[in-house]
Amino acid sequence: MSNLIIETHNLDFSFKEFKALSQVNLQVPEGSIFGFLGPNGAGKTTTIRILLDLFHAKPGEIKLFGKSYEENRKEILQKVGALIENPSIYKHLTGRQNLEVIRRMVDVPKARVEEVLKIVRLVDNADKKAKNYSLGMCQRLGLAAALLTDPDLLILDEPTNGLDPSGIIEMRELIIRLNKEHGKTIFLSSHILTEIEKLATDVAIIDHGQIMYQGKLEGLHSSELLELKIELNQVDAAANILKGLNYTISEQNGRSISLPIETKVEVAKINKALVDADIEVYGLKTSAETLESIFLNITKKLDQ
């Protein structure tokens, strides 16, 4: 097993009465792109803030690079670059000046500013005021700031949030390049399943502050889940019946319903339940399950 860059041990965290994280055990291998997946409010950003010591964990609950924050805060943060939610940028400064602020704090050579500008492809716009940047440029500038110390680990919280399709593709390519060419371990949170599917080598799924799955991305697909698509006439009534049978609807439109199932035996059971309720079923089709339906099956969020 490769070295673990991030380890959490039974991590608990509360906001007053609200328990945000419960017994979270994460193991992020060195060199991976680790997708941290979960619906909004599941605990992703809280976990990330704890990993960056913005929220303090209890002693022994987290280790980065095998070390704890209590004794090694500076040493750990020297090896971590972070991009958390919305860009943190001084809008009145240019892109280059923003990096200069951070450069002065972390004490790296001036030449490093040019290097990171090149990595994120912002050289041409480096002297523009950041208030004139697009969101994609802001995210890339944030990433450039995270790269200044040449960190071994990048923690990126929803890095494609709010970006247009070309911005998403650019960010995705950048993340892959940083992992493959620069050897960075990347911890990436997202609620966009397709993003994780395209990027991650390893994933963890979190919901209601608990880890529901953790392992290789392929491990998720290897489960024998199927997706059933039913064409019928009364979609809403059918959806209610299926929810009553404790199924999770992954997709629903005017003519059909999709849901994850575990075995083909369930197809007959579902069909009978619908026909018994006088719903006309025009077609039943099973296919290998998408990550989306796996995710929904695990988190059971959509129909709650």
Binding site: R49, L52, D53, L54, F55, H56, R73, K74, E75, I76, L77, Q78, V80, A82, I84, N86, P87, S88, I89, Y90, K91, H92, L93, Q97, E100, V101, I102, R104, M105, V106, D107, A145, T149
Partner: protein, 259 residues
């Protein structure tokens, strides 16, 4: 030694981020406000003012002292607000607190830059008062600004004002750092000034009101240099309050959850 180097780095970054901002111009231009008015007053009405009583420099000091006692706290409120609001409005608290620096380093870098701005502005204010006297003397040598005047007392008074301000400045800094709200620190500051103006009319404990130390530490700009070391109670109270507030702020910086 490492702490000093890290603090220097933090301060350097803090100063850099204020370039081309409102606060940069504020600390340069605000100290010129009262001297500019006094320059106009003494150029146009200098003879009438000096006909009443006192020396030229003594009159200029008096004309500067009153307005600055009233206006300087507002300058402190705005600077305290701005040095912290730059992080709130840019969403950058999380950016600076994830840098490989001790949390206290980040806190003290900002605090020292804030205090430095107040110190710089007060010293600039002192220099501009001297410049007013010199310019008026060039324009009208008969007014008496050519007479000798101990500038050490002037700058010493500015320094006393700086020390007597640190108490309530620390309160303003703490509130502005805790709260994203712009109105709250201003409201507390203005409330502090007004309440001092009320209690100073006769309440026996008015001398302990933190928003009045700078006024109580002032006085006439005359006499020997020894007066700089008299009436030290407001200054000691201010420094004591500063230590308490900075302690609370530093403890808070270590413990708080950064959003």
């Amino acid at each position: 030694m490492n702490t000093v180097i890290a603090l220097k780095r933090g301060i350097s970054a803090e100063i850099f981020k204020f370039r081309s901002t409102f606060v940069f111009w504020l600390i340069l231009l605000a100290p010129a406000f009262i001297p500019t008015i006094n320059l106009i007053v003494f150029l146009r009405r200098g003879e009438a003012i000096l006909a009443r009583s006192g020396t030229a420099w003594g009159n200029l000091m008096q004309f500067s002292n009153g307005p600055s006692n009233f206006l300087f706290p507002f300058f402190v409120f705005i600077v305290a607000l701005y040095v912290n609001n730059i992080e709130w409005s840019s969403n950058t608290w999380k950016l600076i607190y994830t840098q490989p620096l001790h949390r206290l380093n980040i806190f003290f870098s900002k605090l020292l830059v804030f205090f430095g701005m107040l110190f710089f502005s007060l010293m600039l204010y002192g220099a501009l008062i001297i410049a007013v006297g010199k310019i008026v003397n060039l324009a009208n040598p008969t007014l008496g600004f050519g007479e000798s005047f101990d500038f050490v007392i002037l700058f010493g008074r500015c320094f006393r004002m700086f020390l007597a301000t640190l108490g309530f400045a620390s309160i303003q800094f703490y509130i502005s750092q805790r709260s994203k709200n712009l109105i709250l620190p201003l409201g507390i500051g203005i409330g502090g000034i007004i309440s001092f103006m009320i209690v100073v009319q006769g309440w026996e404990y008015a001398a302990y009101h933190p928003y009045g130390y700078h006024i109580l530490a002032g006085g006439l700009y005359e006499g020997a240099r020894t007066i700089l070391l008299e009436n030290m109670q407001p200054i000691y109270l201010s420094l004591g309050l500063m230590i308490v507030m900075v302690g609370i702020g530093a403890y808070d910086a270590l413990r708080k959850r950064i959003i």
